[in-house]
């Protein structure tokens, strides 16, 4: 549990007057629930998109609302409202309270603030940055992609940011407030080759960073990289089908960990016994080259959290150490029910959603081989450089992830581009087949969004160059 200390009130007024928050907490407990929580969110989203080189639109949206949760044992009542007047909010809290069916005078709740460190690198709220500067960013990225190669004929460039302020208070007396800014610049493009061939490229990045981030992570570089991918894969041959040795390039390939193990370590699946990692704490579940960390404290990381959506501080958690399963990802409810403590992993998409255990930034600790050594050691295989999305079935552990840019490896050399490749495997088996881990630790540039049970949250992933033996490659080639 976070240490609750009386801290001086911040300069800004809370999102909702604290006496009202306390009243709502009491209302949530009024029928005998054991735990009550109020979550207030105000978010402003700005988006700019360019279509065929022209600014199609600029848009701004702003949404405010309150979610109230009441828990009795393993039972949860949840209600929310975007109507902020006191009567409507009290009705919302009373609806959540219906999960319990007694009566009780819960007495007053005294709130005290949880002091927080900061892992974000944002000075000025992104919502306050002039839209014209955001438009300029997108224009530059678009122009760079078009200028890169004349075969790049379609470019879609977009920028979006969100300034999200939250207040979480619960009947344990904890009160936490945070401002979570997030941005992303992205470019996708299509290159046209001979005989109607089309290849796509996508690149971008961002995070919980200041707008000045784009002075270093330049929009021109983003545009050029998207264009490079599309052009590089023109003339690709069909991906070979069947089991192979694959080498994953560093960065966004970390989606492998996210799918192959991350979801299976979320405590809701563990408690219900529906994950194949349930009951395996202390067991060897991966090659000893594999150390997996979920880290909500990465500076500026897309998944980083000063505080999670239940008011618990972000943490760095070692999930797998040298192949041995060390821990799971807990939210408040699942920690409570299994006698554990929250790992700061309780997240929700918005006030319209109840929190559940989620990943933050999930990465593989680096090894000691150079990327060159790793590729040179492969006689025949597949080098996977850029990746699309992935998915996992928690129970049987089957996961897939899409490879958007891949090359054959022949006698230790990266050769021809291949198309239409996809990897499929079973989490623990794939991790046991990890046979080399590079020294080139890397995080993705800030692109990831993870979906679970209808809720999406921003996440980060990371992986150094890694070799995995005997992975099934889905393709159509021989």
């Amino acid at each position: 549990m976070p240490k609750a200390v009386r801290a001086p009130a911040p300069a800004r007024a809370p999102l909702l007057p604290l006496p009202l928050v306390e009243k709502l907490l009491s209302a949530a407990m009024s029928r005998g629930a054991g735990f009550g929580e109020v979550y207030v969110e105000r978010s402003t989203t700005t988006a700019v998109s360019l279509d065929e080189g022209k600014v199609r639109s600029a848009q701004v949206g702003s949404v405010t609302g309150v979610g109230v949760r009441a828990i009795r044992g393993a039972q949860v009542g949840y209600a929310y409202s975007d109507d902020l007047d006191e009567a409507a909010l009290l009705r919302t809290a009373q609806t959540a309270a219906l999960i319990a069916d007694g009566t009780r005078d819960p007495g007053p709740v005294a709130l005290s603030r949880t002091p927080l460190p900061t892992y974000y690198q944002v000075k000025q709220p992104l919502a306050g940055v002039d839209v014209a500067r955001k438009v300029e960013l997108v224009r530059e990225a678009d122009a760079a992609a078009r200028a890169h190669d004349r075969r790049v004929k379609q470019v879609m460039a977009g920028y979006a940011d969100q300034t999200r302020e939250i207040l979480v208070a619960n009947t344990l007396g904890h009160l936490a407030e945070d401002r979570q800014d997030l941005c992303r610049l992205g470019v996708s493009c299509v290159a046209f080759g001979k005989g109607g061939e089309r290849r796509t490229g996508f690149y971008g990045g961002g995070g919980r960073v200041d707008f000045r981030f784009f002075e270093d992570f330049s929009p021109a570089q983003v545009g050029r990289e998207a264009a490079r991918q599309a052009v590089a894969t023109l003339g690709a041959v069909p991906a070979p089908a069947g089991p192979q040795t694959v080498v994953l390039a560093p960065g966004w390939s970390g989606i492998l960990l996210h799918e192959a193990v991350g979801h299976g370590l979320e405590a809701d699946f563990i408690r219900k016994g529906t994950s194949l990692f349930a009951g395996k704490l202390g067991e060897k579940v991966a090659s000893e080259l594999v150390t997996v960390v979920d880290d909500g404290t990465v500076a500026g990381g897309r998944g980083s959290l000063n505080v999670d959506d239940e008011g618990n501080p972000g943490e760095r958690k070692v999930l797998i150490e040298k192949g041995v399963l060390k821990g799971y990802l807990y939210d408040h409810l699942n920690a409570q029910l299994t006698g554990q403590r929250s790992t700061g992993s309780g997240r929700r998409q918005s006030f319209r959603h109840a929190p559940m255990p989620r990943m933050t930034n999930t990465y593989l600790a680096p090894g000691d081989q150079t990327p060159d050594e790793i590729v040179r050691g492969v006689r025949k295989g597949l080098y996977c450089r850029q990746f699309g999305g992935g998915q996992v079935d928690i129970s049987n552990g089957n996961f897939v992830f899409e490879i958007s840019e891949a090359y054959l490896i022949e006698d230790g050399e990266i050769t021809k581009p291949v198309k239409g490749a996809m990897l499929i495997g079973v989490g623990p088996e794939a991790l046991k087949n990890v046979s080399a881990v590079g020294s080139d630790a890397a995080h993705d540039p800030g692109l990831g969004t993870c979906g679970k049970d209808g809720q999406t949250v921003p996440v980060g992933v990371g992986l150094p160059t890694v070799r995995i033996d005997n992975v099934t490659v889905g393709g159509t080639g021989a």
Partner: protein, 460 residues
């Protein structure tokens, strides 16, 4: 004092209908300098129950609302949205949209639909019986599903989740070009995801039913039983060798397969030559057994609506007629750009601009039963669940993770997992050699059982 002010404000909001909110915004936008504007608002009620071991696990109930305003100012587009329906809130929204338009490029195709294109109010997709469902009913239904699932097989003891819920929505649209309409919709659902366990293997499966009318909902016991049978039959699943063989998609997986085509017939992508179907209008792209239409007027369809996201009256658009590609889908903007007519295909929510999307995207039923299709298959994979997004509509490549049942000589031999199904979408569409008679509109994108004569299965 502050609370009192807030209460007055709330009363004032409640007196406004959604259409009033939209019309007020259109007036405010004009005042703020917009040459044209359109407001779209929604109010929803969402209520659900989850159960575990016969007890309530989660009870959720809430209403929410929002409005989006699209303005054109000298041919430039601006868009703003929000949840604050107070006078001040609406005024700020209008000013924000108009000021945002200044930063956008002038675009001659920016226009609103008008006149006879516009649809009128209708309540065809609304069942008042759903309005009256109480939490106790949902609890009973969810319990019944879970209870029935637990009776099927002793290896099915765990549950990922089981629940039931209902959803009501109202939407309204108003524009400076004469759009002024409201509609209501509702649906009710029940679902069950049990987990089967044996010899250290876990297999989850799920079954659900969603209907526009309460009286048409599948009995929850049936939902639970089907879900449990689907989980149990996957036990013992293993890889098969990499090979070419027949692929049979169960209706839900067939729907997933044709969902991949939805992006490819999006008029916007087609216009940008970024769809693999862009140059194939009027050409034979699929087996003669394939007829596919997007139909927002379909009775019982989950995406049936009187008008689309810009108020354009709903229609049926034949996309593929006996294998021949006949039409692409357009909203007003992309239609003008491509020199076509809107097909009433603007999808939107209050927080998004209208964009091309499908409504009820349905592949017509054929004449064979699913059973006959399986029995007449010498060697192949009956696909029952899939992983990944699959279709790349730009390149026309298809590759997706699959779970299912292996078929030898028309009989189910064993369960299969950890394989992928791959091919070019055009080859796969041409190779469809059987279409089932089991079309059921349980999702807005729907198809009957489909067999593809041959595709690549990657495994061991």
């Amino acid at each position: 004092m502050e609370a009192q002010v807030a209460a007055t404000k709330a009363r004032e909001e409640r007196e406004l209908s959604l259409l009033d909110v939209c019309e007020q915004l259109v007036r405010l936008a004009k005042k703020a300098g917009a040459s044209d504007s359109e407001a779209y608002a929604e109010r929803t009620r969402d209520s659900s129950v989850k159960v575990r071991d016969g007890n309530v696990e989660e009870l959720q109930q809430a209403t929410s609302k929002g409005v989006g305003l699209r303005v054109f100012s000298a041919g430039r587009l601006g868009f703003a949205y929000g949840t604050d329906f107070s006078k001040d809130g609406l005024r700020r929204l209008a000013q924000s949209a108009v000021s945002l338009a200044k930063g956008a490029a002038k675009d001659e195709f920016n226009q609103l639909p008008r006149g006879t294109q516009l649809g009128r109010a209708a309540d065809g997709a609304y069942d008042p019986a759903i309005e009256d469902i109480d939490p106790a009913w949902k609890l009973r239904v969810a319990r019944a599903a879970e209870g029935a699932a637990a009776q099927v097989d002793r290896r099915v003891r765990k549950f990922d989740s089981t629940g039931a819920g209902d959803f009501l929505s109202q939407s309204a649209i108003a524009s400076s070009r004469g759009a002024s309409a409201e509609s209501r919709a509702s649906y009710v659902y029940v679902y069950c995801s049990p987990v089967a366990e044996a010899d250290g293997q876990l297999q989850t499966a799920s079954w659900s039913d969603t209907r526009r009318r309460l009286s048409e909902l599948q009995p929850p016991e049936e939902v639970g039983r089907i879900a449990a049978q689907r989980a149990a039959r996957m036990l013992g699943a293993r890889k098969v060798k990499t090979q070419k063989a027949a692929i049979i998609f169960e209706p839900q997986q067939a729907a997933g397969f044709i969902a991949g085509l939805a992006g490819a017939v999006n008029g916007d992508l087609v216009h940008k030559k970024s769809s693999f179907l862009a140059a194939l209008l009027g050409k034979r792209i699929a087996s003669e057994q394939v007829t596919l239409a997007d139909d927002a007027t379909l009775e019982r369809g989950l995406a049936t609506r009187p008008f689309d996201g810009e108020g354009v009256i709903s229609q049926r658009t034949v996309v593929i007629d006996r294998g021949v590609l006949r039409n692409f889908l357009y909203d007003t903007y992309t239609a003008r750009k491509a020199g076509a007519r809107s097909t009433g295909s603007a999808a939107r929510g209050w927080s998004t601009l209208p964009h091309v999307g499908t409504s009820n995207f349905v592949l017509e039923a054929g004449g064979k039963s699913a059973d006959e299709i399986v029995r007449s298959t010498r060697r192949g994979l009956l696909v029952t669940a899939m992983l990944g997004s699959g279709a790349n509509v730009v390149t026309g490549e298809y590759s997706r993770g699959a779970n299912g049942l292996w078929i030898e000589d028309g009989q189910i031999a064993h369960a299969v997992q950890e394989v992928t199904v791959s091919g070019s979408l055009l080859d796969l569409l041409q190779a469809i050699d059987a279409v089932g008679d089991d079309l059921d509109l349980r999702s807005s994108t729907a198809a009957p059982t489909l067999r593809i004569a041959e595709a690549v299965i990657s495994g061991s």
